[in-house]
Every structure is written in structure tokens, then in C-alpha cells.
């Protein structure tokens, strides 16, 4: 069952990303670059989308995974896909 999007989606994505990445939430800021600042490799990045897919039922097209660099980008993409 997929959830509808909360108003503070960015915060939820931060929460989820900090769990997936096993990093303190304070470090996972909206603007932090997933790859250079948080040390995410491409496949670990996929795990964030896997968790989003499970929670919100969004099907992220593979080609869009490369467009995402920050938590803000992820939240924007989730909103776009949920429209």
C-alpha cells in the first residue's frame, strides 16, 4: 500500500535517506551532495529509490536516477512522479 505525500516531504526523505545510508540526520541536509558529501555510490543511491518505491509507490524511471544529486532533487522528483 503506497502512502500519499506528506507536506514536509523533504523532511521525510531526509529521514529515510539517513536510515538507508546509516548517517546521522544532521549530516543529511537538503543540499548535501549524495555522492561527494555523503559518499553514496550509485547502487546505494538506488537503495534510496527502492525505499521510496516501497513507501510511496513511485516508479522512478531508470534514466532519471542520474539527475538526482541532493535530497532536494529526490523530493522534487517524487512530487513530479506522484502528480
Amino acid at each position: 500500500m503506497s502512502a500519499s505525500l506528506p507536506e514536509d516531504l523533504e523532511e521525510e526523505v531526509r529521514e529515510l535517506a539517513s536510515k538507508v545510508l546509516k548517517l546521522p540526520k544532521a549530516k543529511v541536509t537538503l543540499e548535501a551532495d549524495l555522492f561527494t558529501d555523503l559518499g553514496v555510490d550509485s547502487l546505494l543511491g538506488v537503495e534510496i529509490f527502492a525505499a521510496l518505491d516501497k513507501k510511496y509507490g513511485i516508479d522512478v524511471p531508470e534514466g532519471r536516477l542520474r539527475d538526482v544529486h541532493t535530497i532536494k532533487d529526490i523530493a522534487r522528483l517524487v512530487r513530479e512522479l506522484k502528480k
Binding site: 536510515k19 538507508v20 555510490d41 550509485s42 547502487l43 546505494l44 538506488v46 537503495e47 529509490f49 527502492a50 525505499a51 518505491d53 516501497k54 531508470e62 542520474r66
Partner: protein, 241 residues
């Protein structure tokens, strides 16, 4: 966190899609009919200039599917790893070859003559490469891949890419760890010069992903793949000397 996110990974690997009628068609070149001749020549060259000491070749399963995973030192690694094995293994072994070498007229011709190579583009997008490997394994064949993703510039073992763990765990296929030494000195990255010298190849016992598949109930999928990949790296390191 006990999220099983493997459904998404399976979707990325297209594991729930039916296999095409001839899933291996793209990897069969008429040039491969020269593979016996090429390996005969490899054997001659090896005998005089690069003798191979092979340990544990009996650990490589006779029947596919499995993933053969050596460390990567030189473009001649494939020949050195496969030469000591029974010839029929070449018929069902599909190495992943980067487009840089596959598209080059000289190296590409040698690759097509000696292997059933799969052209991949790891820099642009690795998902098609993972899907191609998954399709080969689902078709009951074996895959040869370098988990480091690139040649080591120093001869030291590099960190491993997690893709091999994704394939092994999601397709439930064993992975054979292989350690190779000596090819770095024979042909260093960026050098066309060949320096004669000995090669050492050690084949380890296949790693069964069964225990890791069970772990997916307790851990997020990526961590399971990563743990499998770390075990593979450890096993290859143990084979070193």
C-alpha cells in the same frame, strides 16, 4: 531497519520479464569459431614467455551457471584465467568487456575471436550491463566479470563494485573467486610492451549466496549485496600469495 527492497532491484534487473527467444544472440560472433586456434596460440605464447601456475582449477564448476570473478591487473587476464580450464568452459562463459576495448579494431577482433564477450558501458550506465549479465545467467550460462570494475594501476586489490553481489543474490548463482598475479608485470596499463614472466592463478571454492538470500529478510537489499561482495573480496585476498 528491516526493509526488503529487493523487489525494486529485481525490477531494475528485469528479472520478472520473460527471456527473449534467443537471449544470447547478440554475443555470438562468427569470429568466435577461431577460439580454438586463438587459445592454441595463447598456449604456445604462455609456454615460452608466460608460464602459468594454476592452483585449484577443479573448484571451477563443470556446469553453468556461475560467475567467475578474478581480480583485474591487465588486458591479458581473461586468457590467463581461462587457459588452464577445460576448453568447453569457453563455450558457455560470457565475459563483460568495456566498450573501450570491444570497439577497438585490434583488441575487439581478438576479444571476439577468443570469447563470447558482452559489450558494456560502465561509465555511462551500468544497469544495462547488470541486465545483460542477469539475462545470460538466467539463460543458464556463466559470466566472467571483474568486481573491481577496472584494472588496478598498482597491482593492489581495489574496492569491489556491489553489482556482483546483486547478481549473485538475486539470481542465486554461485561465485567463483579467482586470484591472478603476474599479468600486471607482463603488460602494465598504458604500456604496449610485453615483459615475459610467470603468471599465478588460484581458483577458490564457489561462494553459495544461499545464506545471503536469507539475510534479505533482516537487512536492506544493498547491505546484503555489499556483505556478499565483501566476502568475495576476502576470499580472493585469501588466495593471494
Amino acid at each position: 531497519m528491516t526493509e526488503d527492497t529487493s523487489a525494486y532491484w529485481r525490477k531494475l534487473l528485469a528479472l520478472d520479464q520473460p527471456l527473449p527467444a534467443d537471449p544470447l544472440m547478440n554475443y555470438h560472433s562468427w569470429l568466435f569459431s577461431f577460439n580454438h586456434l586463438i587459445f592454441f596460440l595463447f598456449g604456445l605464447i604462455s609456454r615460452f614467455w608466460a608460464p602459468i601456475e594454476a592452483i585449484g582449477a577443479e573448484n571451477v564448476p563443470i556446469k553453468p551457471p556461475y560467475i567467475l570473478c578474478p581480480n583485474h591487473l591487465s588486458i591479458i587476464d581473461y586468457g590467463a584465467v581461462v587457459l588452464p580450464l577445460p576448453g568447453h568452459i569457453r563455450q558457455f562463459l560470457y565475459p563483460l568487456a568495456t566498450k573501450h576495448y570491444y570497439d577497438n579494431p585490434l583488441s575487439g577482433t581478438i576479444i571476439k575471436m577468443s570469447t563470447r564477450a558482452v559489450r558494456i558501458d560502465t561509465m555511462e550506465d551500468f544497469f544495462p550491463a547488470l541486465r545483460a549479465a542477469a539475462q545470460i545467467l538466467r539463460a543458464g550460462k556463466s559470466v566472467y566479470l571483474n568486481p573491481e570494475g577496472t584494472r588496478s594501476a598498482t597491482g593492489e586489490l581495489l574496492p569491489f563494485m556491489v553489482g556482483v553481489g546483486v547478481l549473485a543474490v538475486e539470481l542465486n548463482v554461485p561465485v567463483v573467486p579467482v586470484y591472478i598475479k603476474g599479468t600486471f608485470e607482463i603488460m602494465k596499463p598504458g604500456e604496449a610492451k610485453i615483459n615475459p614472466g610467470p603468471i599465478y592463478v588460484a581458483y577458490g571454492k564457489p561462494i553459495d549466496p544461499g545464506d545471503y538470500i536469507k539475510l534479505k529478510e533482516k537487512m536492506q537489499a544493498y547491505d546484503v549485496y555489499k556483505a556478499f561482495t565483501e566476502e568475495l573480496r576476502k576470499r580472493i585476498k585469501e588466495l593471494s600469495r
